[in-house]
């Protein structure tokens, strides 16, 4: 295989070739490490590279596979982790000066599962500070950049994860999503990213953002790869209070099944009245819906509660929980926070207990209303967001004022996948968000896979140059 073919191989294809002993985990790992070394100074997608560990794991995996065959689809396949996922003996910073020297003693549950599956850890990827405040230039590391155009941002907070997969630095990664932090970077970087059903993937050992809305999930180039990763990391964890006691399953099995007869709802009022999308994004959504119509799906409008209510409830709950997590540091060393995160959480100290409870009551109403809608449709579709804009400081208050197409599904807990749905006139990826019923993550992934197979968007990759890429508009 050529170097380019190695960089852009999917997890599924790598697994097939490794099982047939046509692909060496050592060769694949070296290819990624070389590409990261050549290009990541442009993207800042990694904050810690674990090259020595990766080489050791690759050699070990290769020997085991030659002897016994692969023990999972990830055996011998490289991946990376957002730098809020704790890793035993490996620095885990949350991009924060507060944790500059934090070396965990234990792996997070997801890290442990990926290691046990035989994956090769390439390193830890950039995030917004504690997966919440950003982009920031006054935190431990510079913000990641978008490989489709380094003048643009990769969204957040799983910024480095999205950038690394799109750039061909790794075929898959694990991120987290509290209001859209997996789906946003997936959308911005033109890859697939799933916020699983709340409770499906353990959060134990992952630095918290907001306990009640935190989700851990995979990002990869394709929905099929996301399904493979989810199959490895999903499962009940009795030590995670939010973990759901549901049976583990293979989310990639049956992913090729036809989707004819699927009923799709579109929240038009959100997109036309509450937070109108641009004409280009609307045209992209219409084109994507036409693909699903051609695949045999039916499409109609649905009326979820106002988007603003979802956003208000989530943000009040989030700042109260964030404040409770960071109160001591806010009082004793506030200067170590980036200004963006500090601004966004300090007012959480003024949220009264009764307001937190009222927000949680609203959350219950909203989650209930959303499940009611999903009794009438199989999937809901809408853009994940607008294509990524320039990487530049944004006013801190935008967290409180900007609408979000993603947050509603954190509040309701439903699974939601972002897939690439084409490219805007400026070359930046467009996105489609596919949400489904609670614990029907497989249905969401099947729809994403069907869409990717019916379109040609997976054939295009960002071009990185060995000479520093000019930051073009």
């Amino acid at each position: 295989m050529t170097a380019t073919e190695l960089h852009f191989i999917t997890v599924a294809e790598a697994a097939r070739r490794i099982a047939r002993r046509e692909l060496s985990p050592v060769e694949l790992t070296e290819a990624y490490l070389q590409r990261i070394g050549a290009f990541d100074d442009q993207l800042h997608s990694f904050v810690t590279l674990t090259a020595d560990l990766a080489r050791w794991q690759a050699q070990s995996a290769e020997a085991q596979i030659l002897r016994d065959g692969p023990r999972s689809p990830l055996h011998g396949v490289p991946y990376c982790l957002k730098d809020i996922v704790e890793t035993a003996g490996i620095r885990t910073t949350g991009q924060s000066k507060l944790l500059a020297g934090h070396i965990p003693a234990e792996d997070a549950v997801v890290a442990s599962k990926l290691r046990d599956a035989g994956g090769i850890l390439l390193g830890k990827t950039a995030t917004w500070e504690f997966a919440h405040g950003g982009p920031s230039w006054d935190v431990l590391f510079p913000p990641a950049r978008n490989p489709w155009n380094t003048a643009h941002h990769p969204a957040g907070s799983s910024s480095g994860s999205g950038a690394a997969v799109a750039a061909g630095f790794a075929p898959a990664t694990i991120g987290s999503d509290t209001g859209g932090s997996i789906r946003g970077p997936a959308a911005a970087c033109g890859i697939a990213g799933l916020k699983p059903t709340y409770g499906l993937v353990s959060r134990r050992g992952v630095l918290p953002n907001c306990f009640s809305h935190d989700h851990v999930g995979p990002l990869a180039w394709t929905s099929e790869d996301v399904a493979i990763m989810l199959s490895i990391v999903a499962g009940h964890d009795p030590h995670d209070p939010g973990s759901a006691d549901v049976p583990a399953r293979d989310y990639a099995a049956g992913i090729d099944a036809p989707i004819a007869g699927t009923e799709i709802g579109v929240p038009w009022r959100w997109l036309e009245e509450e937070a109108p999308c641009t004409p280009e994004t609307r045209a992209g959504l219409n084109a994507a819906l036409a693909v699903f119509r051609d695949l045999g799906a039916t499409i109609r409008g649905v009326e979820p509660p106002p988007m603003q209510l979802f956003n208000d409830a989530k943000k009040i709950i989030a700042i109260a929980e964030l404040y409770s997590i960071h109160e001591k540091d806010l009082k004793t060393r506030p200067e170590l926070f980036g200004a963006s995160l500090r601004y966004r959480i300090i007012a959480g100290g003024l949220v009264r207990a009764e307001d937190y409870v009222q927000a949680m009551r609203v959350r219950r109403d909203l989650a209930s209303a959303m499940q009611q809608i999903f009794t009438t449709i199989d999937l809901m579709m809408l853009p994940t967001g607008e294509p990524a804009g320039k990487l530049e400081p944004v006013p801190h208050y935008t967290l409180f004022t900007d609408p979000s197409y993603t947050t509603a599904f954190n509040v309701s807990g439903n699974p939601a996948l972002s897939v690439c749905s084409g490219y805007a006139a400026n070359g930046m990826p467009q996105s489609l968000q596919i949400a489904g019923r609670l614990f029907e993550d497989a249905t969401v992934l099947r729809a994403g896979h069907a869409y990717e197979m019916a379109t040609s968007w997976r054939d295009r990759r960002p071009a990185l140059s060995t000479t520093r890429q000019a930051a073009v508009a």
């Binding site: 009040i316 300090i346 007012a347 409870v357 409180f400």
Partner: protein, 70 residues
């Protein structure tokens, strides 16, 4: 709480009650941020029945000896 926006003095009282001793710069950040937060708080308040429980409830089955939470 009154629907009238909190004054700087009221925010100062709330901050002190929360135990925050802020520099002038950080207090300015708080005043601006709380203005947006307060608008959200007002939008979330509504008439409720006594029985309207919040989304988070104590689930005792998670605390059994074989359930991991102890």
């Amino acid at each position: 709480m009154s629907p009238e926006p909190a004054t700087r003095q009221e925010i100062d009282v709330l901050a002190r009650r929360a135990g925050l001793k802020l520099t002038d710069e950080h207090f300015k950040e708080l005043v601006q941020a709380y203005g947006y937060v307060e608008q959200m708080l007002i939008r979330l308040r509504r008439a409720r029945s006594y029985a309207d429980e919040p989304a988070h409830v104590f689930v005792p089955t998670k605390f059994g000896p074989d359930r991991g939470m102890i």
